[in-house]
């Protein structure tokens, strides 16, 4: 397991948060009319991962070149933490030719083969794909691993259970990461999921299952490190469920009327909490906080600028890329 670099993890969390916050602003800024989901420079559905940074940062701190991630409909935090180019990713979200997918994919369909990163808008369906990537790593004799990310709601999908079984019976280097943010759109976990913890489900497939409480990035780092070491050593899959937080709506524009704990959401924000604990340890100063924030601001602003200056695709380009 690599060394715990608290400052690096904090910095990455701030970077992701700045990204999600700015995309939120940009998404709404030029919507005209303001209610129209299809309008604006960023059209369509937008699922932001603010509050869920600890999940991505704790895992990706252990990843190396060649490791794969399949993310769900809420993918930005894992993409950024895994090294997907912020400029190209942003251009894709703006539907531009300079985007990762030339404007074909959009925010739920980001593909970065260089970093073995992909995501899908059909929930839990990235899990079997991660198993296949892990299978390829194993057959090629590398020690790379595949990270399969999904929400707690998606853990009730058939593909989730099929994938756990496959990974276990074939002893694949996969780590299943479940982001339990309490909600699947308007449905709370306890109304949809039998059993309090998805970590317990791992036992049914003979793999280790860990639950990380309190959206704790360091606990996530520990759990992910152990699971990834195990997978690299050829000892098979693991499952980690982190209790995390959906700081924003399910998608942008979600009024969240169904959400009784909305008032306390900001109090549970993991970033100020982590900053406070690092300050207490003497590992972070106010000056550093300001500098880290300024760097993140500049990087995200530049990515948005890059996206906006990238050309729009021509309508006839829609006919390209159906086949190789």
């Amino acid at each position: 397991m690599g060394d715990l670099d608290r400052l690096a993890m904090y910095t990455q969390m701030v970077r992701i948060r700045q990204y999600e916050s700015r995309i939120m602003q940009e998404y709404h800024a030029d919507k005209s009319p303001a209610w129209d989901i299809g309008a604006g420079l960023i059209p369509g559905e937008m699922h932001l991962a603010a509050g869920q940074e600890p999940a991505a940062v704790g895992v990706c701190a252990h990843l190396k070149k060649g490791d794969a991630i399949t993310a769900p409909h809420r993918p930005h935090h894992f993409a950024l933490a895994h090294g997907v180019d912020m400029n190209k990713m942003t251009a894709e979200i703006y539907g531009r030719t300079g985007g990762l997918c030339k404007g074909k994919g959009g925010h739920m369909h980001l593909f970065d083969p260089e970093n073995h990163f992909s995501c899908s808008g059909i929930i839990a369906q990235g899990l079997p794909v991660a198993c296949g990537q892990a299978m390829a790593f194993k057959r090629k004799g590398t020690d790379n691993v595949a990270i399969a990310v999904t929400g707690e709601g998606a853990a009730n999908q058939g593909a989730f259970h099929e994938s756990l079984n496959l990974a276990a019976v074939w002893n694949l280097p996969v780590i299943f990461v479940i982001e339990d943010n309490d909600w699947a759109i308007s449905v709370p976990k306890d109304a949809s999921t039998a059993g309090a913890s998805n970590a317990d489900r791992a036992a049914g497939y003979g793999m280790p299952g860990v639950r990380v409480e309190d959206n704790d990035v360091e606990a996530m780092f520990e759990a992910a490190g152990a699971a990834i070491d195990r997978a690299r050593a050829g000892d098979g899959p693991s499952l980690i469920e982190i209790h995390t937080l959906r700081l924003f709506g399910h998608f942008e524009g979600d009024a969240q009327a169904y959400r009784p704990e909305l008032e306390t959401v900001n109090d549970r924000d993991p970033i100020p909490k982590y900053a406070a604990s690092l300050k207490e340890l003497g590992e972070l100063s106010d000056d550093q906080i300001a500098a880290i924030q300024a760097d993140a601001d500049a990087e995200v602003d530049a990515a948005i600028e890059f996206a906006k200056s990238s050309p729009e695709p021509a309508p006839e380009d829609a006919l390209l890329h159906v086949f190789a």
Binding site: K104, G106, M108, H109, G121, I122, S192, P315, L319
Partner: protein, 339 residues
């Protein structure tokens, strides 16, 4: 419609929900289940206010387990209940198609007619708002291709309510495929035709009967769903240019009202089929076959069709509008037929 009926202007979404609600009042065997159909009222408003009226026992939020709850709908229907189940986006058919095609649609036939599956599977279709390849498809041609399920495709609030009531009362499985862009949602661009006069009382619109949405004499547009709204806009515009367009709203694909189609084509001698589904192996080809099998001599001009050109739905707006059957493309295709 009797003259004493109270009507008011409501959205397609509200009309659907009202149809379900009236059937729930009438028949205790009717219940609703699906993702976010409860307090949320359905992501596209199809169950608006039903949770408040009927409660969690009859308007059931499900886990994200489409194979599980669609299959459970089948089981409940087999035992005599009348479930109205929602598949949030039709694109999610991929995770549950076995229950739909191999079970819901085949049980009646396989059982030699002994087992009925009176359920409605309603689902959102269509694009136009940059939801990209996995959330923008129509796919009605896929369901209509597979035997054993009726397929209805409303284009306006009045039909949405009447077809819903017919679908619930039908003893067969009915796919009820509504277009997100035709729901009259406050958060999506909408055609004014997504809000319309709807009677308060219960009424039915027959499944398998097309409507002449607008009469005309030069060209027939055969279409369905949101493309009806676009086609009506185009027809009104072309009226000013001296072209008289008849718009046939199919309303249902299974059964298909070939009689109304043939009658209209026989009158105008020119046909354009507009379909937001993929072009090949689908509705547009089916209508061409119906005409060709009956009398190719009905047409004065070669058959014309406008559909998604066999590519997944792309994300960026210029790409998506490059492949959708927009008003401009419909207009150009009609003019080509008149040239």
């Amino acid at each position: 419609m009797s003259t004493t009926t109270e009507t008011r202007r409501i959205t397609t979404a509200k009309a659907m929900a009202e149809g379900i609600g009236l059937e729930m009042q009438r028949d205790p065997n009717v219940f609703v289940m699906g993702e976010d159909v409860g307090a949320y009222g359905g992501i596209f408003g199809s169950t608006t206010d039903l949770f408040g009226e009927f409660g969690a026992d009859r308007v059931i939020d499900t886990p994200i387990s489409e194979t599980g709850f669609i299959g459970a709908g089948i089981g409940a229907a087999v035992e005599g209940l009348r479930p109205v189940v929602e598949l949030m986006f039709v694109d999610f058919y991929g995770v549950c198609m076995d229950q739909i095609s191999n079970h819901m649609a085949k049980i009646h036939y396989e059982s030699g007619g002994n087992v009925k599956v009176p359920m409605v599977l309603m689902t959102a279709t269509g694009g136009g708002y940059s939801d990209a390849a996995q959330h923008s498809q129509c796919l009605w041609g896929t369901f209509a291709h597979l035997p054993g399920m009726k397929v209805v495709v409303p284009s306006n609030p009045y039909d949405a309510k009447g077809l819903m009531i017919s679908a619930i009362q039908d003893d067969n499985p009915v796919m009820y495929m509504f277009h997100k862009g035709g729901q009259g949602l406050v958060w999506m661009e909408k055609n004014p035709r997504s809000i319309g006069e709807v009677p308060e009382e219960s009424y039915t619109v027959p499944i398998g009967k097309a409507a002449i949405a607008k009469e005309g004499s030069d060209v027939t547009i055969v279409t369905l769903s949101l493309s009806v709204q676009h086609s009506l806009d185009v027809a009104e515009e072309l009226e000013g240019e001296g072209i008289s367009v008849e718009v046939v709203d199919l309303r249902s694909l299974v059964p298909l009202d070939t009689e109304t189609v043939l009658e209209s084509v026989g009158k105008t001698g020119r046909v354009l089929v507009v379909d937001e589904d993929y072009k090949s192996f689908g509705l547009t080809g089916e209508i061409a076959a119906v005409i060709a099998e009956t009398d190719p001599g009905l047409l004065k001009k070669p058959f014309s069709r406008l559909a998604v050109p066999d590519v997944p739905i792309p994300y960026a707006r210029p790409l998506e509008y490059g492949i959708l059957p927009t008003r401009d493309k419909i207009k150009a295709a009609v003019k080509d037929l008149m040239a």
